[in-house]
């Protein structure tokens, strides 16, 4: 029993790493633009399917397809940014409906191009087992992408804290007008936040393709998971996003181990509602009225 629990904690932490990548992208865009990009999960989906095509048709290793997937996903993210920036009135709600529409478009485009079949990576190396400490089990893909995920989240954190652009981005997030007066171009930071969120989504997409299975309906669920994590984390905390992602991953995998896999999504939703209703500023966020 103890081994089972340890194993599910371990698996949860591993999924938490790529959840964090998705959630961080969503949170970045929300921070700078006050826009919840409901098409964010579909960007991840797109990255995953480009990687699939590259492996299937060109024989590329999923990791080697990164530049190609990156180009497509970041271009799509830019298109989403452009459309959202066209909204002038009542942006918070209108952008929600607009990005919901874009999500529907992307999901159905993936469905039309790649059909509804389920796919996963065929490169055998990724599926080889690793057995740390003799009792835990993981696929190599899971370990590789958990590592990449943590490094990337760390890099984004460092970038936000230390670099000029990162500081500009945080400045726009906290006070747009003041940031403008200090010589920060808000549009530039918005474009940057979308580009970085596209980058993170691409890596997460490749991670899911190699370690799990992909299917067109997945995008919507990923968006919801990412939103749950940002609520758990509270806004404006990068380590919080990582912890929230790991928390969601662990709760999900414990639910699968202790109860049943049918309840996996339910656990996340209940956790989401409890935190939202009891701790509206999240587990790690600063207290602040929402909306």
């Amino acid at each position: 029993m103890l081994e089972l629990i340890l194993q599910s904690l371990f698996s949860g932490v591993l999924s938490g790493a790529y959840y964090a990548l998705i959630a961080l992208g969503l949170a970045l865009v929300f921070g700078t633009m006050r826009v919840i990009n409901l098409a964010h999960g579909e960007l991840v989906l797109l990255g995953a399917y480009i990687s699939y095509t590259a492996e299937e048709k060109l024989g590329l290793d999923p990791l080697a397809s990164l530049p190609l997937a990156l180009a497509v996903v970041v271009a799509t993210a830019m298109a989403v940014y452009y459309l959202v920036s066209l909204i002038k009135k009542d942006r918070e709600l209108n952008s929600l409906i607009l990005t919901f529409g874009i999500g529907v478009i992307l999901t159905n485009a993936v469905l039309m191009i790649w059909s509804a079949d389920i796919h996963s990576a065929t490169t055998a190396w990724y599926h080889d087992a690793v057995i740390p400490f003799d009792i835990l089990f993981a696929m190599q893909a899971e370990l590789v992408f958990a590592g990449i995920g943590i490094v990337l989240v760390g890099a984004v954190w460092w970038w936000l804290e230390k670099s000029w652009y990162g500081r500009a981005l945080r400045a726009v997030a906290s006070n747009r007008d003041a940031a403008k007066l200090m010589g920060v171009n808000p549009q530039l930071t918005e474009v940057l936040s979308f580009a970085v969120s596209g980058l993170l989504a691409t890596v997460a997409g490749i991670a899911i393709y190699t370690a799990k299975v992909i299917q067109p309906a997945m995008g919507h669920h990923l968006t919801v998971k990412a939103f749950i994590i940002t609520v758990l984390a509270g806004m404006g905390s990068v380590p919080g996003v990582l912890l929230g992602a790991v928390l969601l991953g662990v709760v999900e995998s414990l639910t699968v181990t202790m109860a049943s896999s049918a309840l996996q999504e339910l656990a996340g939703m209940v956790l989401f509602l409890v935190v939202l209703l009891l701790m509206p500023s999240g587990l790690f966020g600063r207290a602040k009225r929402r909306g």
Binding site: I36, L83, I87, L98, F100, N108, L111, V224
Partner: protein, 318 residues
């Protein structure tokens, strides 16, 4: 003038449409489906317009209404029409469970409701002894014969859903014209200011949520008896929310008749024009429509068409 128009439209819907199309079961079926979407769209728009809240989880109320009515008739042997009414109340009661989410605003509310829809769907799947689980419920009683009228037929179903939709629109209009409607409108402009003058805005929002859930639950119950079959993934499907949102936005969610018009246009065009060309992924058209409306005419088509009329009226009044 306006009354004559409404009377003419009602006569058209209750007399002309059945006489002209009644013999064509396929077309009647399409119109019934469009009206079903229209009913949810009206409920969604009522919450969105009067309550100022965007919901991504109306499928929750649709599914609960469907299950309540189906279970009452199947397991407790209730007659169909009273069950449908109770199903509406069931959905309204379920909306009480979602009311803690009312203190959230904007996107948080929208997604919290979505979480509720997911939870209800999983519960319907897991509570096998009551709901039949993923296998679903079969042979749900059809709409009955009343006074020689067979509501179980396609055309009978048309009259039932038409009546539900008309009643929903009447209720919507009455609320809008009442003092509560005024308070809700004020709340839209500034919730804080409205609270200061003594309007209990949370209470009002809760009522709008309950009314919206009631209508959606009734429509869900109708649909269950109309198609005689129910399973969790169908009853709580995201498409009920998506189609309703697209319809309401397309028709103009700030008007009473817009969502219905939107549903008729969107659903019929989707089914007749796009489904044959794009059997897989034809919903892409819905996404395009939604995006285009938000970008070019957030008020919907109706205001666009009506803007000339109202300008004329305004100059007349002056």
């Amino acid at each position: 003038m306006n009354r004559i128009l409404i009377a003419a439209l009602l006569a058209f819907a209750y007399v002309v449409v059945p006489l002209a199309l009644g013999s064509n079961a396929y077309v009647v079926g399409l119109i019934v489906a469009a009206l079903t979407i229209g009913g949810i769209a009206i409920a969604w728009a009522l919450l969105g317009n009067l309550g100022g809240m965007v919901s991504f989880g109306h499928a929750a109320f649709f599914g609960i209404g469907a299950y309540v009515s189906a279970l009452l008739t199947l397991r407790a042997g209730w007659p169909v029409f009273p069950s449908m009414l109770v199903a509406g109340f069931g959905a309204a009661i379920a909306s009480i469970a979602t009311m803690p989410a009312l203190r959230l605003r904007g996107p948080y509310f929208a997604l919290a409701i979505l979480a509720y829809a997911e939870i209800f769907r999983i519960l319907a799947t897991e509570l096998k002894p009551i709901t039949g689980g993923a296998a679903g419920l079969l042979s749900i009683p059809r709409l009955p014969n009343v006074l020689g009228l067979d509501f179980g037929s396609k055309l009978g179903g048309y009259f039932v859903i038409l009546t539900i939709v008309v009643a929903a629109m009447v209720a919507y209009d009455l609320i809008r014209r009442s003092p509560y409607g005024l308070a809700l409108k004020a709340m839209h402009d500034s919730e804080d200011a409205t609270r200061v003058v003594g309007v209990n805005s949370t209470m009002l929002k809760a009522w709008m949520l309950a009314v919206s859930a009631f209508i959606t639950g009734m429509v869900g119950a109708f649909n269950a008896h109309y198609i005689n079959f129910l399973e969790p993934d169908y009853a709580f499907a995201g498409q009920w929310t998506t189609l309703a949102i697209v319809s309401a936005i397309f028709g103009g969610y700030r008007t009473v008749s817009g969502p219905l018009l939107g549903a008729l246009v969107v659903y019929l065009v989707d089914q007749l024009a796009f489904k044959p060309i794009l059997p897989q992924g034809h919903q892409i058209v819905l996404g395009v429509l939604l995006g285009a409306m938000i970008l070019f005419s957030p008020g919907g088509l109706m205001p666009l068409l009506l803007s000339r009329l109202s300008r004329k009226e305004a100059s007349h009044a002056a």
